[in-house]
Symmetry: C2
Subunit: 463 residues, 2 copies
């Protein structure tokens, strides 16, 4: 059985009856245009949302929910100038790589990774630096409307603590690779380290799900992949892997195994578990069909794929095959930001230019990818990804006041093609306000930036 | 002789001797990292810039210019948290198309243009609506660090007045097309209308240069193109045209003239005049060589080309051929914003993925394109495009305080891959502060947004 990050399974669709002023909400959002992201639902004008505890308890439109209660502790969010929508899900990141943002650009992937990033990681990563780097990433994600993220890296205790301190929802996975890695000097211990990580954090918080991230079918041995599969089964959590990011990698997997990467993973039994496949670029039609048959969940990371010249994922084909696709930024050393608004824009434009079909991946489809797609990649589509009564209150408000968001004809177009993360005004995760009027409530921005700058000075001086 | 938009030609390189407190600057910028954009110059730390009248009069580094003068009227810009650089040049726009931003997306170019945009233009454009749409565009450009723009559209009196009211530097060109056009119902009068426009505005302001913009070699007849050439020669101003934006257009030009578009323009004598060629996508090697030989100035508009699936301009080949290339956003109905920071990012990433070479179009090269490239496209490289004593004071400050701009290793990388227009803090054009600490000094944002929303409501109701 698939483990939920919530201890008790809730029915998201169960309506909570309106009781007028008796609802006693903790948070009241009023006055905006609401995109519920429920299939087929039109935008609601002048909407209101009541949040109580961790959930959405009532939704009104056309100003039909006047707020009569006079409780002093009600948090009021004014969305009258904005669009209210579910929080975005960053389905692939290496959060702490903010530490290396802008350190090494415009290089071939191999040189970037092997000559620049790996040595930096070996020298500068520890639980403390990962904590501060990940906390900066969490702050950046909150500031740009991301309420949930999937992460794979090393020293992940630091990332768990950062996500917890920030208040974000996250699947934090320990990286597994068959080289000496930061915090895991002996590759023979890599899966054991990941297993210990999962055991340590599995009951820590309802917002944090620990996981395992195998680097790639090439950099992980067959033995490692089989052991990771066992851990995934034992703890009921999805597997994650970088899949077919470069053409060279695919050729090397074929040379090593006699099979293409997806066939190889199937052969190992990986497709029988919930699998999150990141990049998914160099796939043939048979592989796409196989992935669809086994309900593999794909994460599209267009900007990183462009910047590193890895290739263009066949998004249109994968969507047509019925695959679930989420959107990710990748680490900020290869993008170089964690802004999913910009990633949606890039995803739509890249799909159009690569297919030479301007109809391909509309604004609405790109938005769905970043919201519901991400929720489904996580297996949390019953908990998050739409704004419905009974669902978790992961909600953002985008302010439409900026010149570049004027005028408004189509909210999806405005959000995808015109907005950037800096237009996000308020962020709520699991019924807790994390940013209000662009002020962080859970984090101290100056402390975090100061700590990261301190680390970056040591990195800068080392070269 | 090429006409300058400045009545008197100045020598940008002439140094103005430092006289300590006697310089009596109007504006003092202090404390930032300065990218002068002069070839080969490293970033200067803790820099200061003195501006007097319309020019840069002194530059200091390492805090060596303490400000001793005590004049009350000195405008002080604190750049201590930021990067100081020359203002960006948006080398292709249709400013007033902000009116249609987000109205029609995810459509084939022809359908978008002929079924959606042309009818809207016919019905809703007049000098007043163009003024408000262009003013919104000017506000958006100021807010995102653009200090100079090139524009082609109709009812351009409105755009001239908007640029003037905003305080931006601009080449504003009257559109010419052999169809009935907004404000020019008789195509037989199109060049005459453009000529009258140029005559009307040529001595109006040192910041505004009027011009002529022929829609394309296909939509303008040979007669029209020849007449436009005469106007360009008479008034000493560059010609502008959309060149080889789609494959279909190239085939149609070949069918019509027996020549490829660049050969056709050469045949007409167009390459003997300063020519600004926009899009420049579907070119063969001979055309690129011909353009280089004749010093055609190219404007690259990657996001619009992606969104409309027009194709990918051969930027790498054109740079190798020595062509001058500027960067443009196109109109905000096909992008859908006027943010050159995001355009630089897209330009770099698109070049890498299309060439499958991650070294192609580095951050530094993309930045150069948006700054010096644009200045050269305009023929203003001696006046703007770098920060040097004697040059016009077109300067912006980018605030580095945001989480996504932390840490800083390489200012070019930070500006191109991480920043967006919303990070711009201060904007100076020709020695006048247009935005300070993100507050506009020349414009009333609420009035402008209100007027455009009013127009957009009429447009929205019309369908």
């Amino acid at each position: 059985m698939e483990r939920s990050i919530f201890m008790k399974s809730e029915n998201a669709k169960k309506p909570i009856p309106a009781e007028g002023g008796q609802l006693d909400p903790d948070i009241v959002i009023t006055g905006g245009m609401l995109l519920t992201m429920v299939e087929g639902e039109e935008p609601l004008k002048n909407a209101s949302i009541f949040v109580k505890d961790e959930k959405i308890v009532q939704i009104g439109k056309n100003g039909e929910m006047p707020i009569e209660h006079g409780k002093a502790h009600v948090e009021r969010i004014d969305a009258s100038r904005g669009i209210i929508l579910p929080g975005l899900v960053n389905a692939h990141s290496h959060a702490a790589m903010t530490l290396f943002r802008g350190y090494a650009d415009d290089l071939p992937l191999k040189e970037w990774l092997i000559d620049k990033i790996f040595p930096l990681e070996a020298r500068f990563l520890n639980e403390k630096t990962v904590y501060w780097g990940a906390l900066l990433a969490c702050m950046e994600m909150i500031a740009s409307g991301t309420t949930c993220f999937l992460d794979g890296y090393f020293f992940q205790d630091g990332t768990v603590r950062a996500a917890q301190d920030a208040g974000l929802r996250a699947l934090v996975a320990q990286g597994v690779i068959d080289f000496p890695a930061p915090g895991v000097p002996d590759p023979g211990e890599n899966v054991a380290a990941a297993k210990a990580f999962v055991e340590k954090w599995q009951d820590f918080s309802s917002l944090i799900m620990p996981g395992i991230f195998c680097h790639s079918p090439l950099t992980c041995s067959e033995r490692t992949l089989r052991m990771a599969l066992e851990v995934s089964s034992k703890f009921g959590m999805p597997l994650q892997i970088h899949l077919s990011e470069t053409r060279e990698e695919v050729l090397a997997v074929v040379a090593k195994t006699g099979m293409r990467p997806v066939e190889y993973l199937k052969d190992l039994g990986w497709l029988d578990r919930p699998l999150i496949a990141v990049h998914a670029i160099h796939l043939n039609d048979e592989e796409i069909a196989l992935m669809a048959k086994h309900r593999v969940r794909v994460v599209h990371v267009p900007e990183s794929n462009m910047k590193l010249s890895s290739g263009i994922a066949p998004v249109d084909k994968m969507l047509k095959a019925g695959l679930t696709i989420g959107l990710g930024t990748d680490g900020s050393a290869s993008n170089n930001d964690l802004d999913l608004f910009l990633e949606m824009d890039s995803a739509a434009k890249l799909a159009k230019i690569s297919s030479m079909d301007p109809v391909c991946l509309s604004a609405g489809e790109a938005l769905k990818m970043a919201v519901r797609g991400g929720a489904s990649v996580l297996g949390l589509e019953r908990e998050i990804g739409t704004i419905e009564v009974g669902k978790r209150a992961d909600i953002i408000v985008v302010d439409l006041d900026a010149p570049h968001l004027t005028p408004l004809y189509d909210p999806c177009s405005t959000l995808v093609y015109s907005a950037s993360g800096s237009d996000v005004k308020d962020v709520i995760v699991n019924g807790r306000v994390l940013m209000k009027d662009r002020t962080f409530t859970s984090l101290d921005p100056d402390e975090i930036k100061g700590k990261v700058r301190e680390i970056s000075r040591a990195i800068g001086l080392s070269v």
